[in-house]
Symmetry: none
Subunit: 410 residues, 2 copies
């Protein structure tokens, strides 16, 4: 097998010691413009050679660069952990076929060497040092938008498939509210909460990102064929799995780390205990992002996971404003103080407040009655009445005091 031609057209091997810093790795086209063709072919190969998450492979590619790494993987000339991740598929090179299939499906391969790569969003996947959170070696994407820009102002909204009408209502409102505030909604395109969040965003012409657990050329779930088309037409459908990949069960959990990574925070709207949405929340926390959860009736099963998240430290959010405030680093979205209407009696001294409360809704009373009723001394009553009169809250008529409404209203 070692004699086989590497998929990248014979790139030379530059065996760098494993301690070399990523910054010193070959920097051909990193982060700027269009990547070279051999880079795309190398990453297409690497994208299929290991089942994500593949932490050893990710580190190996980071150190050697994609072209050299691909050559060595294919040659079987790799350290043990990388071999463990790649041995089963290293001789299968479908790079060209995958790139072609993607093209036919209106998709393309997005690589870290591309300026549109969501570098800042995915950086914590490497930095967290958690194997399960390892970054993808590439992303297959479908849609007109650039992932780097969308993830700059993005929030993940996820939740149960078995959602209630309450949950889908709240998810839809959040999706629309975030989109209206210029925030990208990231979710998993599943039935239930995910779909409602995407639809809410689309309803106000927002850009939304669907991260799939299968190839971007597949329609899953089938009921969301139209939804996926709409997302691909205006936002971005994303997957780390090459074209044709089937949505195997474990891939949903693995995929969730990318949903978590692409947003500045994750809002969970309804989730069963020990659900995928809870896993997304765990990943979100491990990535140093904000975990948020929407409460619901304690009598509703699908809210139980959210309540547990809140007890475990997730931020309770009830509205788009709450979410924007929590991820406020995104911009100047700080929510106004929660709807506390100013009251005419705000800021009254204790005595004045007591006297105000003591005055009957109808009719008038003299100060002697107020002394008896409130238990305040006569001077206290007089000072309080002066304060109330000055604020327009009480008025005196023939020595009798009655309530007044500021502004003259009833």
């Amino acid at each position: 097998m070692t004699g086989r031609q590497p998929p990248t057209g014979g790139a030379q091997r530059h065996p760098l010691p494993a301690t070399v810093a990523p910054a010193l790795a070959p920097a051909v086209g990193v982060g700027t413009g269009r990547p070279a063709v051999e880079v795309l072919r190398a990453r297409a190969y690497l994208s299929r050679v290991a089942e994500p998450p593949a932490p050893a492979l990710a580190a190996f590619v980071e150190v050697l660069g994609p072209v050299a790494a691909a050559a060595r993987v294919q040659a079987g000339d790799v350290p043990g952990p990388v071999a463990g991740e790649t041995a089963a598929r290293r001789t299968t090179d479908r790079a060209e076929a995958d790139l072609e299939a993607a093209h036919d499906a209106g998709a393309r391969l997005l690589v870290p060497e591309d300026g549109a790569w969501p570098r800042a969003a995915l950086a914590p996947c490497l930095l967290a040092g958690v194997p399960a959170l390892a970054p993808p070696v590439a992303l297959w994407v479908r849609g007109p938008r650039r992932a780097a820009e969308l993830s700059e102002r993005a929030v993940a909204v996820v939740g149960a498939r078995a959602a209630t009408s309450y949950g889908t209502h709240v998810a839809g409102e959040l999706g629309a509210g975030l989109a209206a505030a210029g925030v990208t909604v990231v979710s998993g395109a599943a039935i239930g909460i995910d779909g409602a969040a995407h639809r809410g965003s689309l309803a106000v012409d927002g850009a939304t990102v669907a991260v799939l657990a299968c190839g971007v050329d597949r329609v899953y779930p089938a009921a969301h064929a139209t939804l996926l088309e709409r997302i691909a037409a205006t936002g971005l459908v994303v997957s780390e799995y090459p074209p044709g990949s089937v949505p195997a069960r474990h891939r949903f959990l693995v995929r969730n780390r990318l949903i978590a990574a692409l947003g500045a925070g994750t809002v969970v709207v309804e989730a069963a205990l020990r659900s995928g949405a809870q896993r997304t929340a765990t990943d979100t926390e491990a990535l140093g992002r904000v975990v948020m959860a929407v409460p619901g009736p304690v009598t509703s099963g699908p809210s139980a996971g959210c309540h547990q998240l809140i007890r475990d430290g997730a931020l309770l959010v009830t509205s788009t404003d709450d979410v924007l405030e929590a991820v406020g680093r995104l911009g100047a979205d700080l929510a106004p103080e929660p709807g506390l209407p100013a009251r005419a009696t705000d800021g009254l001294g204790r005595a004045a407040a007591l006297v105000h409360d003591a005055l009957p809704a109808r009719g008038a009373r003299d100060t002697r009655w107020l002394v008896r009723e409130s238990g305040l001394p006569p001077d206290g009553i007089r000072a309080a009445l002066t304060e109330l009169e000055r604020r327009g809250l009480a008025r005196c008529c023939d020595g009798m005091w009655q309530l007044a409404r500021p502004g003259g209203g009833g």
Copy 2:
């Protein structure tokens, strides 16, 4: 006015300096058996002479004892702050009439000198040092149960008058669940959540305590006439306001501190923003008790106050089990935390725990240092040290206090 006979049958005046510790105050019958008649008459008079909360009067009575304090209040021979609280009503002595009215209504006056006084429950009202939380000088009670015993295992359940069917359902379930676990449900007998909590408790033959903002001989709200009779027949109806007192608006807020004090924690089930229930939660926290809130739909106005409480640090609870776990100090209800051995300091009162924490690991300190360090008043420190000494957690040597290890261990 100074010539007028004091209401307590001519008790001699023993003007003690204001710095005298409560422990040195007249201890006639403190906490044991039935109190003397002159004590009852003195406290009946004091119960009407100031509008609660009356922190200066409470401290004055604590220092002088009720009989001497009542005589001096009536004579107007009191420090300025006490005069401020009592001047308006000090010449009104309706002690005999109030005791008679209570008797006619099947009620009685419960005083701190009575063994049934909920001493432990109300202690934080004094120790908190917050004027608005000042303890009552007496309680008018109606019902067969002893407040001291009921409050030993009690939880307050409060909430909105304008409750939804969801809220009243949850409150009823909690009331029944707590009662079934042998926990007293304390509430305010209001329409909505309060009533549902009381009813839930009664439905499983639990003892429930209603704390009123009017005299215990009054029926308020009128719609709860039957409910109040059922509570009085099996539990306890309590008020610090003398018979005949009307439920003036400010009294509901003042009353809430007693609801908070009589439970080991307070569960808020639906509450509007800036509601009375939120005030009870604030009082609960100030008293060092556990604040709990039940979440609900974010689309429901009456749950907004609960969600804000949770964001502010209240514990989210969804079931009776959650509540029992949160106030587990009550008894053996604690779901055993894996691997958390019982600590010698478990179950200490808040003040004692504070003082225990303040004492250095090595060396000894005098009480003056502890006052400075802990911020507690001197009597709070003394009471706390007594508790610590009794539990073998601190010992005194030549007026200096140091940590001790129970059982003599290191």
